[in-house]
């Protein structure tokens, strides 16, 4: 398979990256889902990650959060501790029936200050109210979360992100199953983060949305297809390449030796059988 690390050529044009991937490979059961990806996320900028299902987009976010260990290569966070990164996963893991009030759910965003045992300060409560207002949920603080619609719940999670006050914000398909009004409101919140100089990385599927709101795009199909300004990335040729990603599961795939250099007798520098990374 022909493969070019296009982004490495683009790399010089990027501003200093808040978070850098260097030759990152992530695997499930030794099969790579993110394969030899390198590049930087532009700091203070909105970057969309797009690509077909199974392209490794969510997996990449998990690795950036430190929730998954790279099989090979590195995620360089440049002094950002995982807790200084805000992460909104797809909703699956949240128990929406849990008897929690909206305000308490938002106040979880204050975890860095309150932690397991600390008290919730008055200013945190005020920030929670302000955050609820900013996502269009003013006055909902006392309601239980199990009475919210999917759209309202996502607004609450965005309010929690606001409270987290993170420099880097990772969003995994934040607009799936939301109506146009809610999506527009939440996109406005994201635009606000950009004005505040925060870095946002979002996994998205809607190309039009990406073109009109996200200046930077990483097109991922296990390999990095293209990474840079959205207009240069979302070209028909690139999209065709991304959608041509092999979907079948090859049980007998050989060990990857792409990083091997020099004589074939040297021990492999990158061997998925060794989980010592």
């Amino acid at each position: 398979m022909s493969h070019h690390h296009d982004h490495q050529h683009d790399h010089a044009h990027h501003p200093a990256g808040a978070i850098r991937l260097s030759n990152l490979t992530l695997t499930y059961h030794r099969h790579p889902v993110v394969h030899h990806v390198s590049g930087s996320f532009a700091q203070g900028e909105l970057t969309a990650i797009v690509g077909p299902n199974g392209a490794g987009k969510s997996t990449l976010l998990k690795a950036m959060m430190g929730l998954m260990k790279p099989n090979h290569g590195r995620v360089e966070r440049h002094g950002l501790a995982p807790r200084e990164i805000a992460y909104l996963p797809q909703q699956a893991a949240i128990d929406r029936d849990f008897p929690l009030s909206v305000q308490d759910a938002v106040l979880l965003g204050d975890w860095r200050n309150s932690g397991w045992f600390g008290r919730i300060s008055r200013s945190a409560r005020q920030r929670a109210d302000a955050a609820l207002e900013r996502v269009g949920m003013a006055g909902f603080g006392g309601r239980p979360v199990d009475e919210l619609s999917a759209g309202q719940f996502q607004r609450v999670l965005f309010a929690r992100l606001l409270l987290q006050d993170a420099q880097l914000i990772l969003l995994d398909e934040p607009f799936t199953a939301l109506d146009a009004k809610t999506t527009a409101d939440l996109l406005a919140v994201i635009a606000g983060w950009r004005r505040e100089g925060r870095t946002v990385v979002a996994v998205l599927h809607d190309y039009e949305q990406v073109r009109s709101h996200f200046p930077q795009t990483l097109l991922l199909a296990k390999e990095c297809i293209a990474w840079g300004p959205t207009t240069e990335v979302l070209t028909p040729a690139n999209l065709a390449r991304a959608n041509g990603m092999p979907q079948n599961w090859d049980d007998d795939a050989p060990v990857c030796h792409r990083d091997d250099t020099g004589a074939p007798t040297t021990p492999p520098a990158h061997d998925h059988t060794l989980h010592s990374h």
Partner: protein, 290 residues
């Protein structure tokens, strides 16, 4: 019979009834909140599994030391902790989910317990371990019950927020670097402690009832967690007291009487509970304007 004779005289006349009452109330204080978290974390059957898991520890202690409450409690505690830790570690090390591992470990543990008792004990002993007798609670047992209730409430108060977050959104806690696994293990240890405390009074199998029935009922009454905790506590305390009275007046075994009283509260809640009870579903046909 005067109300006094029905409601209080048994306790005034007999020390063993007073012991039993205090023991049941202490047990209810610890079990009710634990049960509520089990229900909320969708681990309702975990309590049942764990109650079986502590059996071999109690059985070995019984065979070695006779009917010593201390020995049996320590034995049960050790067996329960071994199962909790082993299942937890296997879950983290392999593909299998936690519930499957708990099921596997408790079944192995239960089978060992039954094997031990039938080889070296007698059926009477087995019945005693399985169904307990609250009327045999002595001063030493009371101290143990009170200690467990105190520990449970203090640890729950400390870990409350972590437990809530672990239940509501575990990925969030993980992403904030909060060690949710610690809260989880601390909670499971509390489950074991309360079951061990319960098994001598109610028996290993009945102890779970005082956890699960009030907790399941509470969900039908309150919408916020603190209110649910209060309802569960109230039902557990009243079940202990009323169950003992029924057992005394009806000359019935105490464990099942207490659990059946809690069961009645559960059925009552199912019918009348303000949050999703059948009566309100049936009445609530008229929709509002907005």
């Amino acid at each position: 019979m005067t109300p006094y004779e029905i409601l209080w005289q048994p306790f005034a006349d007999f020390a063993f009834m007073r012991h039993a009452l205090v023991g049941c109330l202490a047990l209810a204080l610890g079990c009710a909140p634990i049960g509520l978290f089990l229900v909320l974390r969708r681990m309702s059957l975990m309590g049942d599994a764990m109650s079986h898991a502590i059996l071999p520890g109690a059985a070995i202690a019984f065979i070695a030391y006779g009917l010593s409450l201390t020995a049996m409690s320590i034995g049960g505690l050790i067996a329960g902790l071994v199962v909790v830790l082993a299942a937890g570690m296997v879950t983290r090390a392999t593909q299998l989910k936690e519930d499957a591992n708990f099921a596997a470990f408790y079944l192995v543990s239960l089978a060992s317990g039954v094997l031990l008792v039938s080889k070296w004990g007698s059926n009477v002993d087995l019945m005693h371990i399985l169904f307990g007798t609250v009327l045999a609670v002595d001063a030493a047992a009371l101290v143990f019950l009170a200690a467990v209730a105190t520990t449970t409430l203090v640890v729950l108060a400390l870990f409350y927020r972590a437990l809530v977050v672990e239940s509501f959104d575990p990925e969030f806690l993980q992403s904030m670097g909060g060690r949710g696994a610690w809260a989880h293990f601390a909670f499971l240890i509390l489950v074991v402690l309360n079951l061990v405390a319960g098994f001598q009074a109610l028996g290993t199998l009945m102890a779970v009832g005082l956890m699960m029935l009030p907790a399941a009922s509470a969900r039908l009454w309150a919408k916020e967690l603190p209110a649910m905790l209060c309802v569960a506590l109230g039902i557990a305390l009243v079940s202990g007291y009323v169950g003992l009275l029924i057992s005394y007046h009806g000359d019935l075994p105490s464990g099942p009487s207490i659990i059946l009283t809690a069961g009645l509260a559960y059925f009552g809640s199912l019918a009348l509970g303000r949050r999703g009870g059948l009566l309100w579903r049936w009445l609530g046909h008229e929709h509002l304007e907005a």
